[in-house]
């Protein structure tokens, strides 16, 4: 029997050492190609004595199979490695920051106003607006606040002349709407208001308010309570309660200051509520018959409630802002902080 011309072990080792596809290709040609070692061995088969032929054939076949499988294995190994290298090269570092498309923020006052507005729209109220420069009649007289009434002290007013002023509340919108339309009606009126207050931590000479007016045939304090409770739960949280404290506004009677239970102590009394357990949030009441008279509604037939609330106050309560003036400083960092809080 002829000695094999090949040492299988060293051939396998030779394949193992290969790291490039081209080198593997050369080795494949060297052993299995047309002039390859194994091919030549097959050609020797005819010269092999008959009795050894079978064994020799088997030996060469086996050799071929082993080399083939080793090469295939090596090929897929190299291909896998190349693929990995390529991936590695093109890998992107997902921990690097994204190229952020800078979105602008809604002012926090807008955000809270929108949130409040959503509520009233969902209750069936419609939105109404009015001018910031008002006539004395709409700001005061039609609202049952005649000249020289001490109630005007509550509204230190900016005047342009004896008849034109900056509205001190959104209530003139009530009058403008009622003058044009017949009851029943349910309106929500947002807007800027102005009072002659020197800016400090809790006052601004310009602020945002909204006014709510509901007029129908049998509107009572009970309805006002029901609506306020729902409102407070929606805006401040389900566990919050309200109480009505009798007060005085010329255009409503009875009139109420509305307190919401303190969110920090839950009503037990703490520093932020001055120990009372309650925080004053808005003014409200049953529309005064004189207001209806001034717009030509019959107070015997129609009744209603009205409420007005300062938006900055809600913003401060909800977001723990200690100085109201921060709201108008417009520091970019402040503006960004409230990005997407409510909208």
């Amino acid at each position: 029997m002829a000695e094999p011309l090949i040492d299988l072990q060293s051939a396998l080792e030779e394949i193992d050492k290969v790291s490039e596809l081209s080198a593997l290709q050369n080795i494949k040609a060297k052993y299995l190609g047309k002039q390859g070692v194994v091919t030549r061995l097959f050609k020797q088969l005819s010269t092999i004595p008959q009795e050894e032929k079978k064994a020799f054939g088997q030996m060469v076949n086996n050799l071929k199979k082993q080399l083939e499988s080793k090469i295939a294995e090596k090929r897929s190994e190299i291909e896998r490695r190349m693929r990995e290298e390529k991936e590695q090269k093109n890998r992107f570092d997902i921990t690097l920051p994204g190229a952020i498309r800078d979105m602008g923020a809604y002012h926090i006052v807008t955000q809270v106003m929108e949130e409040v507005q959503e509520f009233w729209l969902s209750m069936g109220f419609e939105i109404a607006t009015g001018p910031e420069v008002e006539e004395v009649y709409y700001n005061f007289e039609a609202l049952n606040t005649p000249e020289w009434h001490p109630a005007r002290d509550m509204h230190d007013t900016f005047y342009f002349n004896s008849n034109r002023l900056l509205r001190t509340h959104t209530s003139p919108i009530q009058i403008r709407v009622m003058e044009k339309r017949n009851p029943p009606l349910a309106i929500f009126a947002p807007g800027k208001c102005y009072r002659k207050d020197t800016p400090d931590t809790t006052h601004l000479p310009m602020f945002h308010q909204f006014e709510v007016l509901y007029v129908d045939r049998h509107v009572s304090v009970g309805h006002l309570k029901g609506v306020l409770e729902t409102f407070v739960k929606r805006i401040f949280g389900k566990d919050r309660k309200i109480r009505l404290r009798p007060s005085f506004f010329p255009f409503t009677e009875p009139s109420f200051e509305v307190d919401v239970s303190c969110g920090i102590c839950g009503g037990a009394g703490c520093r932020s509520c001055g120990g009372t357990g309650w925080l004053e949030i808005l003014g409200s009441g049953i529309v005064h018959p004189n207001v209806f008279r001034s717009v030509g509604y019959d107070p015997e037939e129609w009744s209603g409630f009205a409420l007005g609330m300062g938006v900055e106050r809600v913003v401060m309560l909800k977001h723990d802002i200690a100085d109201i003036r921060d709201l108008l400083r417009n520091d970019k960092r402040f503006l960004k902080k409230f990005m997407g809080v409510n909208i």
């Binding site: 190229a99 952020i100 498309r101 800078d102 602008g104 923020a105 809604y106 002012h107 006052v109 807008t110 209750m123 069936g124 419609e126 109404a128 607006t129 001018p131 910031e132 420069v133 020289w148 009434h149 001490p150 900016f158 005047y159 342009f160 034109r164 900056l166 029943p184 800027k192 102005y194 002659k196 000479p205 310009m206 129908d216 009572s220 304090v221 009970g222 309805h223 309570k225 029901g226 409770e229 729902t230 009505l244 009798p246 007060s247 005085f248 009677e253 009875p254 009139s255 109420f256 049953i286 018959p289 009744s303 108008l328 400083r329 417009n330 520091d331 970019k332 960092r333 503006l335 960004k336």
Partner: protein, 786 residues
């Protein structure tokens, strides 16, 4: 107003309530409580004591050493008050006690230990300046807390009264509230005097004075008031002066009725003429200020010269002095509006004017003057020397009808009849059953009760709103749509925030001088009564607030900024007009948060943002050279729609930015659009246009355009000569530099051709292109050689 609870106790028994309960009850029935405080809590560890012995200090002439018994114990106290005597009862703070922030400790005076110190009335705030330590004028039990013995331990409830409740500006008023709340009774102090006819007073009044009641008293001795009165006045926030003045204040706080006392010897005769002032008439008031009067002011005169500004302040000349022997007491009722007008005009507000403005009871004048006289005679030794003389009348009491069902309807609950009757009668109303309710007589002090609804409120606030059940009304869905400006505001805010702009809110007020520093073209409306110069003009444009915001942020290293504001701006017309405006400001990087985008803002990207907004309105807009002189001419434009200017944008003048707003080294892009105009011009009806089923043909042209030629001219030529199939001209590239001749730039446009009838042939498009190229050549624009 400050309410000492121990004082209230004189009239209504509140011993079963603590101050917090009272405060809570008041606040839930309509009297807003500001605070509950104990005004003498700054003194701790001070006791009553008896001086057992007084000895000279061995080493100091100005000191004495005393032994003081406090309860069972004896203490050694060194004092500089050498008038103290054995057997006197005093007040002493012992070591361990506190006076304000001062902790009292054992202290050696020239070698002799003192275990505390004596207290003077000055330290108790009951005297302006004390010469000696305080002594009781009668024996007291020693070892008691001084606050208890002197009744300085009672709470003071500070209330803020609403403008309608002038009747509550007194102890009586608050007692009446508590009477109704607790359904208790009130005991008013007795006030009896003996009138006589030794002297006669002549009174005449005119419009503005409803009632004038006067009394003369003789043999007055001006001295200090009794301690209890001083204590109450101090607790109520007033400064004790002398017995007569203190008593007028005391009775005012007690009854709510302002009172004036004249020195009768200084008014020249016993004549009181109440009349309107003559224009230009002058009067020097008690506080030394001279006021010049007008014809609507009301004066108290002696027939010739003015004595007092009615209801506001007495005159200096006839005031009470230490030498006063005779007094004329005035208990008057003046018209609220007359008093308010004068007080407002002169900028004076006194306890008296404050009460008259809110309405004073005209029916209790006799009681008040008797109460006054009896106290003055008790504490000054004075005697009555005239009759109570009266001019005018108490006004008629009004009667109102109250319907039971109306009460229930307004309050939203069925209030028991007994409650309604009990509440109203405890509040001083007189009820008589009538028809479906009651005839209700209103007490004269209730100026605020004029209609049935006022009675309903009275019932409600005492009955308690916690008893009213909550109900949700059934509100029908509205048929009105959201007002267009609200919609526009929301839309603009959405677009602008999505474009990276942050919403800001600035004051509508401006300093007019700052406006002038930017441009003389603005004419802002001015407030008649501004807070200060900084807040005196209404913004004629939104840019000032944005520039201030940019300045604020720039100075705080926020140098990349995109902001906008939507709000009203104001025009100086007769009526003072306003319109809705949106303004944008940007500086620094195009995309500050994007580190892969190194671009700084350019006029083109900024203009793009403006155009994105304009496109929301579906109208054709164009740009013309800017008319604002505070924009840089090289990069600014006015926005024109239908031939009307609706706004502008551009780079803000760099010199003004630096000088006025301290922003330098950075361009400020600024724009403003009139939103009301945009709404007005907005294309409201958008109809569907058929989208052609045939393919579009695109052709790119790279054009060499001379620098001086605006692209708008190029575009105009293209559209004019392209024929009917051209549907759009779109700029896709601008190039300057290599290969482009000096004085030119290359603009590449994509032209889109489209027909709704058939597929466009190559010839048709090519002939259009040839046409365009030929016409462009005539304007100096050539194709760029590829």
């Amino acid at each position: 107003m400050r309410i000492p609870v121990e004082w209230l106790n004189d009239y209504i028994d509140l011993t079963d309530k603590n101050a917090l309960e009272l405060a809570n009850a008041l606040s839930l029935s309509g009297t807003e409580v500001e605070s509950v405080e104990f005004p003498w809590n700054y003194i701790e560890g001070a006791f009553t004591g008896r001086i057992e012995s007084v000895e000279e200090h061995p080493d100091a002439d100005n000191l004495v050493v005393t032994k003081v018994s406090v309860g069972e114990k004896l203490y050694q106290i060194v004092t500089a008050d050498k008038t103290v005597k054995a057997g006197e009862y005093i007040a002493v703070i012992l070591s361990g006690g506190k006076l304000w922030n001062l902790e009292i400790k054992d202290r050696k005076f020239r070698g002799i230990n003192s275990e505390g110190m004596f207290i003077s009335l000055e330290e108790l705030r009951l005297e302006e300046k004390s010469e000696t330590v305080f002594r009781f004028d009668h024996p007291v039990e020693t070892g008691k807390d001084i606050r208890e013995t002197l009744k300085l331990d009672s709470a003071v409830i500070e209330v803020e009264l609403t403008a309608n409740r002038g009747d509550c500006l007194s102890m009586f008023g608050i007692a009446r509230e508590l009477k109704a709340i607790y359904r208790k009774e009130i005991e008013y102090p007795l006030a009896e005097i003996e009138e006589n006819q030794k002297e006669k007073i002549d009174i005449s009044i005119e419009e503005g004075c409803k009632r004038y009641t006067a009394l003369l008293m003789d043999n007055v001795t001006i001295k200090e008031s009794p301690l209890w009165m001083k204590r109450r006045l101090v607790a109520a926030g007033l400064r004790p002066i002398n017995n007569v003045v203190d008593i007028t204040n005391y009775v005012m706080l007690e009854t709510g009725h302002p009172i004036h006392a004249f020195d009768a010897d200084l008014i020249g005769g016993n004549r009181i003429i109440v009349r309107k002032a003559k224009s230009g008439e002058k009067l020097t008031l008690l506080d030394g200020k001279e006021v010049e009067l007008i014809e609507s002011d009301l004066l108290i005169t002696n027939g010739e010269e003015p004595l007092a500004l009615a209801g506001i302040m007495g005159g200096m000349k006839s005031g009470i002095s230490p030498n006063t022997r005779r007094v004329l007491l005035e208990v008057a009722v003046f018209d609220p509006v007359t008093i308010r007008k004068t007080a407002r005009r002169l900028g004076i507000s006194t306890d008296s004017s404050y009460r008259f403005e809110r309405g004073v009871d005209p029916s209790d004048s006799f009681y008040v003057i008797k109460r006054l006289a009896s106290l003055i005679s008790e504490f000054s030794g004075a005697t009555v020397s005239s009759r109570i003389t009266d001019a005018g009348t108490p006004s008629e009491k009004i009667k109102l009808h109250l319907r039971k069902w109306f009460v229930d309807k307004v309050l939203g609950t069925v209030v028991p009849i007994e409650d309604i009757e009990s509440i109203l009668s405890h509040l001083g109303f007189e009820l008589e059953e009538a028809g479906d309710g009651w005839e209700v007589e209103v007490p004269a002090y209730r100026y605020d009760i004029t209609q049935e609804i006022d009675l309903v409120e009275e019932v409600g606030r005492i009955y308690g709103y916690e008893k009213v059940p909550s109900v949700l009304p059934r509100i029908l869905p509205s048929q009105e749509s959201i007002p267009v400006e609200i919609k526009e505001i929301r839309k603009l805010k959405r677009i602008l925030t999505a474009s990276g702009y942050n919403e800001v809110i600035n004051y509508s007020f401006l300093n007019p001088e700052k406006i002038k520093k930017v441009s003389g073209d603005f004419d802002p409306p001015m407030l008649q009564n501004p807070l200060s110069l900084d807040f005196s003009a209404m913004r004629p444009s939104m840019i000032f607030g944005l520039l201030e915001t940019a300045s604020y942020n720039f100075r705080r290293q926020n140098k990349d900024l995109k902001i906008f504001e939507i709000g009203n701006v104001f025009q100086n017309t007769d009526k003072v007009n306003e319109h809705l405006s949106v303004a944008l400001l940007a500086m620094g990087k195009e995309n500050a948060e994007d580190y892969t985008d190194k671009r700084t803002l350019s006029p083109y990207t900024f203009k793009g943002t403006i155009e994105s907004i304009l496109q929301l309105y579906g109208v054709k807009y164009s740009f013309e050279p800017a008319s604002e002189d505070w924009l840089e001419k090289r990069a600014a434009a006015d926005v024109i729609i239908n031939g009307e200017k609706v706004g502008y944008f551009g780079i803000f003048n760099a010199e003004i930015a630096d000088r006025v707003f301290e922003v330098k080294g950075q361009e400020l892009f600024i724009a403003e659009l009139n939103v009301d105009k945009l709404i007005e011009l907005k294309k409201t009806v958008v109809k569907e246009t058929i989208i052609s089923p045939f393919p579009r043909v695109f052709r790119d042209l790279s054009l060499l355009v001379p620098h001086h030629l605006n692209f708008s001219e190029v575009e105009k030529t293209i559209t004019e000569y392209a024929g009917k199939y051209l549907t759009s001209v779109k700029v896709i590239d601008i190039y300057k530099g290599k290969g482009i001749p000096e004085g030119y730039r290359s603009i590449t446009v994509t032209l889109t051709f489209e027909s709704s009838e058939n597929t466009l042939t190559d010839e048709k498009v090519s002939s259009a292109i040839e046409n365009i190229i030929r016409s462009l050549k005539n304007t100096g624009v050539n194709l760029r050689e590829q």
